[in-house]
Amino acid sequence: MLDKAIIQQLAIIVGHDQVLTSKVNLTTYGYDATADVPKGTPDVIVLPTSVEQVQSVVNLARKHGIAIYPRGAGTNLSGGTIPVERGIVLSLQKMDKILEVDAENLTATVQPGVVIQELNNAAAPHGLMYPPDPGTVTTATMGGSVAENSGGLRGLKYGVTKHYVMGMEVVLANGERVRFGGKTVKNVTAYDFSNLFVGSEGTLGIIVEITCKLLPSPKYRRAMLATYSTVEDAGNTVAGIIKAQVIPATLEIMDNMTIRTVEAFAHVGLPLDAEALLLIEVDGMAEEVVEREAEAVVKVVNANKGKLRVATSDAERDGLWAARRAALPALASLNNTVVLEDATVPRSKITDMLLALSAIGRKYSLVLGTFGHAGDGNLHPTILADKNNLDEMARVHMAVDEIFATALRFGGTLSGEHGIGVAKMKYLGNEIGETGLGLMRSIKNALDPTHMLNPGKLIPAPEAHVLAEVAHATR
């Protein structure tokens, strides 16, 4: 437990109402959206409303050696916000102002607690959008999604969060605030700090302001749904579409297990014997271009023996999307624990990966369904298990080990969009090697020598004596 004096000082900094210490509150900030990771219990939750308050909290915490866990809406899937070593949960949800939408420069400047959808709502009257589109777009905060570098369904054509962050203000572990980047399209001044802090998972600093890029919203779109009797045909379609030089906004895949579960759950008229399904949407500013792209897609689907449904109205489009939207809820309804991974492979390995995942499910006798973003190789193998069945959970863990090993074997990565957090930290060295870990340690030690910011996440915590040496050397 933290000293009462520290709680009092926190209350002086942010105001009494913005400091939560009740048992109920400590319980509710002990977890995030990640399944099958240990919960934590913080000492206190602090909800600052200004950058100065964030600085003061950081200074106080540093002085007393208290850990800080920055948190947005807590929707991440890697345990990134769990307070593993007690300390302060720093919830930035009350810093939730959209400071500016600059239609002339196609930028927006926001506080970290702004929900992504709120930014889209503010940009919409200008005909603009913020393209990163994680599944949690209506709940996740900008700060959280920048810290996690979240992706989403439009990654193939529009990229992910890192492609839209142009500048930030960050409070560093030493309590200083630093601004970098800005509204200019081009900026090569200094190191590219934006790309250092995007995806840093709260381990290097606390993001307190973000300037991001906006794009004109596409005016036309065409959605199609294709079903296949083999996974290979679906995989060849993905490759064929790209080869035909069409970059769909959405190119989603579902395996047979997911198709059957979705159909049983939502009754959307999917063929139960289909081995794979693709949801494809092309969009653009000109109707004829979108039409032409849709025609090219139809040709590729037909050449690969796909059965096609094309939406001709918004209602029909919603119908096609309903299948994709139901994927996670449907799978989740099968059991009490949803282990949702995001192992990602080069696009050309999608078919191999899908077949390998299905084999892993069979090998460990698990219920495993895969869906995901075929266009960018980012798959979501999803295992449904009973958390009270220890034998089953042991098999889940073995299967997860094998999923990551397989992704790396195919030249892929541990995480396409969920982040490393606590959930995937033990695999980190397998992808980046000892030298990669060393580089991460160098950066971490330089910016946060006492490892007070989100300890136990992304980068393994050093031994205590190493920490002492680092702290001594940087003093």
């Binding site: 109920v24 509710t28 809406a73 807590g74 949690t136 709940t139 989740a332 309804s333």
Partner: protein, 445 residues
């Protein structure tokens, strides 16, 4: 005999907490509820939203938090039970059932707090409740000043005392009717060659606060050749006590209401309040699920209960009104009407079908107004912030009339339109606009 403190199998969620365990396990902590929870939107803390409350529920069931811990209890009652989270929940967690099961478990363990006990025991005795309301109607002049037609505002000494509970000088509440609805109308309103006979369950708000709305509803049924029974034996639906965990009182009220309707000889049961209608369609079925006598009665009436709008649009195919009502109208979806009774299309269809009415949809029409029955009294600050967003949305439509389908929402909207909304915007039940059109039609003949 099993000892009293041992869990008894076969009981429902409202008699045995562990019956909700499987429901609780369905929550995958994704936090989708954050997008819609009105309390979370206001407070921005986890304990406000369903995910946080379910986390605490799990801690209670695992034994790491005590059910009757003051903090746990106050968190459990900081919920409007508007069911918005249930609409956006990907795994369809029945949050309301878990929440009410927890509240019922608190009452089983500790009994009702004395204040609630006092209020609810009055409800059990309809005659006492009636006379209490009459006294209230008479005495309201002492504590409240008249603030225009059918509205009252707290007088200054009371306003000063009541400031922290929201009873300040600006507070506008509907005046208690001197004669409640059920005392104004006969038990059976006959028409020539009736299409059918319905029973009208008035609910308390319409009976005591908005009898004119009730009369409008009855006039609309009459215009459509529907015979209406208004059984005298009916009383409170029980939802106001059920949301406080008082399962026994709602059972008692439910039995009395079911008996009253059984004597009505009606084919359908009509409500003009989402909470009451929801009780008939759902809650009675649940609380009487293992009752051999009242279980079947609840099932019978549950299947025959309609909100007045669905009855008009889908059952009797109501006569389109010809009378002109020159008005720009917007509509607020009452939570229990839309999220429990699944009624949202029908009131709009009725409003749009009225000559002269320009219907304007507000942004987020189904966002809660923050009333939550007694929530507005117990959590006035949060409730008012929620209501402010609502009346601002309504104001942006520039509508001169804000309609809804629930008297409790009407009360909340009426007070807050006056404070923070579009000045002069009228608050009405949608049925009153239809009644006005029928009236204008006759006047023009």
């Amino acid at each position: 005999m099993q000892p009293a403190d041992q869990p008894v199998s076969g009981l429902g969620a409202y008699d045995e907490l562990k019956a909700v365990r499987a429901e609780l396990d369905k929550c995958m902590r994704c936090g989708s509820c954050m997008a819609v929870c009105p309390i979370y939107k206001t407070d921005k803390i986890e304990a406000g939203v369903a995910r946080g409350k379910l986390g605490v529920a799990e801690a209670v069931m695992d034994g790491t938090l005590a059910l009757d811990d003051q903090e746990v209890m106050s968190m459990l009652f900081n919920c409007l039970v508007c069911k918005s989270c249930m609409q956006s929940c990907p795994t369809k967690v029945d949050f309301a059932r878990i929440m009410l099961a927890l509240r019922a478990a608190i009452v089983r363990k500790n009994g009702l707090p004395w204040l609630k006990k006092a209020i609810f025991s009055t409800l059990k005795h309809q005659d006492l409740f009636d006379s209490g309301m009459k006294v209230g109607a008479l005495l309201s002049g002492v504590a409240f000043r008249s603030a225009g037609q059918k509205a009252i505002a707290p007088r200054s000494p009371f306003a000063f005392v009541g400031k922290h509970a929201g009873f300040d000088e600006d507070r506008l509440l509907p005046a208690l009717a001197a004669t409640p609805l059920r005392a104004r109308v006969p038990e059976l309103i006959q028409v020539e060659q009736p299409k059918t006979r319905v029973a009208f369950f008035t609910g308390c708000s319409m009976n005591y606060f908005y009898p004119e709305t009730g009369e409008d509803l009855l006039s609309v049924l009459k215009e459509n050749n529907v015979e209406v029974a208004i059984p005298k034996g009916q009383g409170c639906c029980g939802i106001p006590v059920f949301v406080h965990g008082d399962v026994e009182t709602i059972r008692e009220l439910g039995r009395r209401n079911l008996d009253a309707m059984d004597r009505s000889g009606a084919e359908y049961l009509i409500t003009g309040c989402g909470s009451c209608g929801g009780a008939w369609q759902h809650e009675y079925n649940e609380i009487f699920s293992s009752d051999p006598v009242y279980g079947p009665k609840a099932a019978y009436w549950g299947a025959r209960t309609y909100d007045i709008s669905s009855f008009l649009v889908d059952v009797v195919k109501y006569r389109r009104p010809q009378g002109k009502v020159d008005s720009v109208v917007t509509y607020h979806d009452s939570c229990h009407l839309k999220k429990t009774m699944k009624v949202s299309r029908e009131p709009r269809e009725i409003l749009k079908g009225i000559p002269g009415v320009t219907f304007k949809e507000m942004s987020q029409p189904d966002a809660c107004c923050g009333s939550g029955g007694s929530y507005v009294l117990t959590h006035w600050g949060t409730s008012t912030e929620i209501a402010t967003r609502k009346v601002e949305d309504a104001a942006r439509t520039e509508a001169d009339t804000l309609t809804t389908g629930c008297p409790a929402c009407m009360m909340q909207l009426f007070d807050n339109v006056h404070r923070f909304g579009r000045q002069g915007q009228e608050v009405k039940h949608y049925i009153s606009v239809l009644a006005e059109s029928y009236r204008n039609e006759k006047a023009a003949q």
